[in-house]
C-alpha cells in the first residue's frame, strides 16, 4: 500500500517534466483542429472535454469535499434553461445568459442544496438525487414563468442560426472545440488552485474529520458554501454550452439522473479528489461509450454504453477503488523521475 507521497517537486519547477509535459499536451490540444477537420471526430473530442469539464466541476463537491452528489445534472439544467429561456424571450445573448445561469445555480446550491451538506455519505447522495428530481419534476410541470415559455416536458428549441458568434452558435465544430477546451482548462486551473490553497486543505480536512477540522479553525459552513457555489456555477456554464451545442433541451435530457450518475461515476473511475482524475475518467468512459454506441449501437442494443459504465465502475471498485489515476500517477512519477535523472546526468 502506498504510504508516501512526494510533495517536494512543484509544478512550477520549470525544468521538471511535471511542467513541460502538460504544457506540451495543451499545445497539442490546441493544434488538433488545425489538422483534424472531420466534424464527427471533433464532436467526439468535444464530448470528451465536455464531460471532463463537468466532472472537474463536480469534483469540487464530490472529490474535495467528499460529498457524493448524484444530482449535479440539476445545475446543468438550470444553466441550460436559464440562458436559453432568456435568449428566446429577451434576446439576451447566451454568452451573458451563461453567467446569469451560473449565478442562479450557485444561489440554488447555497440555499436549497446547503442544508443537505450536513448529511453524510449515502444520506447526502440520496438527498442529492431527490433534489435533482424535484427540480426536474418542477420543470416538467412548468409551462410558463410569467410570460417566459418553459414548455414543460416538450422542452425548448433553439432556432439554428448557422454561424452566429454573438448568439453562441457556429457551423464549424472547431469553434465549439476551442470553447470547451478553454472551459476545461479553466476548470482544471480552478480545481488545481483550490487543491493547493487553504480552501482545498480545509475541504480535505472536513472530509476526513469534521470535528478535528473545526478544532483547527476551519469554518466548515463557509468552506462548504464556497465549494457548493463554485461547483454549481461552473457546472451551469457547462449547461449553457450543451444547449448551444445541441440546440434542443428538455428536462429529462439535461437534468436526468442518468446524466448525474455519468458525471459522478466518471470522477470515481478516474479518481475523485484528484485534480486530473476526472479527465482520466472521461478519457476512459466517453470513448468506450461512444464507440460501443457507434459499432454496437442501434435500436436493438440501446443502453449498452450504460451497461459498460456499470461494469467499469464495478471493476474499478473491486480492484482499484482510488481510481485509475493512482497506478497511472505512480507510473508517471517514476517515468518523470527517470527523465530528471537522465537530464541531470547530461
Amino acid at each position: 500500500m502506498k504510504t508516501r507521497r512526494n510533495s517536494d517537486t512543484d509544478i512550477r519547477d520549470f525544468r521538471s517534466p511535471k511542467f513541460y509535459f502538460p504544457l506540451v499536451l495543451v499545445v497539442v490540444l490546441f493544434c488538433i483542429p488545425l489538422v483534424l477537420k472531420d466534424p464527427s471526430w471533433l464532436q467526439f473530442l468535444i464530448l470528451i472535454m465536455f464531460y471532463a469539464y463537468l466532472t472537474c466541476s463536480w469534483n469540487i463537491i464530490g472529490g474535495f469535499a467528499g460529498q457524493l452528489s448524484l444530482g449535479h445534472a440539476a445545475y446543468i439544467g438550470i444553466g441550460a434553461y436559464t440562458s436559453t429561456a432568456l435568449y428566446l424571450h429577451f434576446g439576451l445573448s447566451p454568452w451573458l445568459g451563461m453567467f446569469v445561469g451560473g449565478v442562479f445555480a450557485a444561489l440554488v446550491a447555497v440555499t436549497v442544496g446547503y442544508p443537505c451538506f450536513k448529511l453524510r455519505g449515502a444520506y447526502f447522495a440520496l438527498a442529492s438525487i431527490a433534489f435533482a428530481e424535484v427540480i426536474r419534476v418542477v420543470t416538467e410541470n412548468t409551462y410558463h414563468i410569467g410570460s417566459i415559455e418553459i414548455r414543460g416536458p416538450r422542452g425548448l428549441l433553439l432556432p439554428p442560426l448557422g454561424h452566429s458568434p454573438l448568439a453562441f452558435q457556429f457551423l464549424n465544430k472547431a469553434y465549439y472545440y476551442y470553447i470547451i477546451l478553454i472551459m476545461m482548462l479553466i476548470a482544471l486551473l480552478v480545481t488545481y488552485r483550490i487543491s493547493k490553497t487553504k480552501l482545498g486543505y480545509s475541504l480535505s480536512a472536513i472530509r476526513n474529520s469534521l470535528e478535528a477540522a473545526q478544532s483547527l479553525g476551519v469554518n466548515v459552513a463557509r468552506c462548504r458554501v464556497t465549494a457548493a457555489a463554485t461547483s454549481a456555477f461552473l457546472t451551469a456554464l457547462g449547461g449553457t454550452f450543451y444547449a448551444q451545442l445541441i440546440l434542443y433541451i428538455f428536462p429529462e435530457g439535461v437534468m436526468g439522473i442518468i446524466f448525474s450518475c455519468e458525471i459522478a461515476f466518471i470522477a470515481i473511475i478516474g479518481g475523485r479528489g484528484t485534480v486530473f482524475g476526472p479527465i482520466l475518467g472521461a478519457l476512459i468512459y466517453i470513448p468506450a461509450s461512444e464507440l460501443t454506441r457507434m459499432y454496437l449501437g442501434g435500436g436493438r442494443l440501446l443502453g449498452i454504453h450504460m451497461v459498460i459504465l456499470g461494469i467499469i465502475v464495478m471493476m474499478v471498485m473491486l480492484f482499484q477503488p482510488a481510481g485509475v489515476i493512482k497506478p497511472l500517477r505512480r507510473a508517471y512519477l517514476s517515468f518523470s523521475k527517470r527523465l530528471e535523472k537522465q537530464s541531470q546526468k547530461a
Binding site: 507521497r5 510533495s7 487553504k198 480535505s204 478535528a212 478544532s215 479553525g217
Partner: protein
Amino acid sequence: MALFEIKNLTKNFGGLRAVDNLNLFINEGGILGLIGPNGAGKTTVFNLVNGFFSPDSGGILFKGENIEGSRPDVICKKGIGRVFQLVKPFGDMTVLDNVVVGVFSRVVSAKEAKKEARSVLDFVGLLKKKDILAGSLTIADRKRLELARALATEPKLLLLDELFAGLNPKETEEAVALVQKIRDMGVTIFVIEHVMQAVMTLSERIAVLHHGKKIAEGSPQEVAKDEDVIKAYLGGEYVFA
C-alpha cells in the same frame, strides 16, 4: 486575573446532569489536570470549552472574554487548541498537510504554511515522516501529529484529552517531556488523564470530577490523599474500568 476560568458550568443531557456547577481556573503558564472515574463528565467539559456543546448555565472565560456557546473554529482562532481522546488524523493526507491545515488558521499563503508546518513537525519529532499518509502512522505518532496540528494554530491554551492513553512507558516519558517543552514555550495546559503517573508528574494542580461535580482540588499530593477521591475511584457501587 486567570487566563482561563470556568464559572458555575452546568450541562444536562436529557435527565442526566453531566456537568454540575463546575468552577475551575488556570493561571497563565500553568498546568491543570482533570481526573475522575470514567463517565465523570471530563470530556464533556472539554466539549463545552471547545465549542461542541453549549452549557445550560454558567460561563467560560478566556482572556477575560466569555466564550461559552461559540463555534469550535471561532474558539480555535481565539487561541484554544484541542487534542482529541480518539485521535482523528486526516487519514488520506500526508503528515505535513495535516499540520498545514492547522497553520492555515492564522496564515494565508500556502508556501508559508508549509514552512511553518515543517518547523512544528520538527518540534514534535515527526519531520522525517512528513510525506507519509497520516492513516498509516502508529498510535504514538498519531498522537504526536494531533499535538503538532493543535500547536500549529499557536494556541495560548491547549486541551489535552487522554493524550497518554495507549502509550508504552518509554513513549509516555517522551510525551511528558514534550508537554513540558510546550509549557516552557508559554502555552497553558489543561489535561484530562487516566494515566496517573503522567498527570501527577505534569500537573501543578489537579481537580477531581465525579458525577459531574468537583469533589477535590489541590496539589497532586493533596488530592492523592483525599478521602473522597479514594472513595470515588475505589468505592463499592462504582465500577472502575
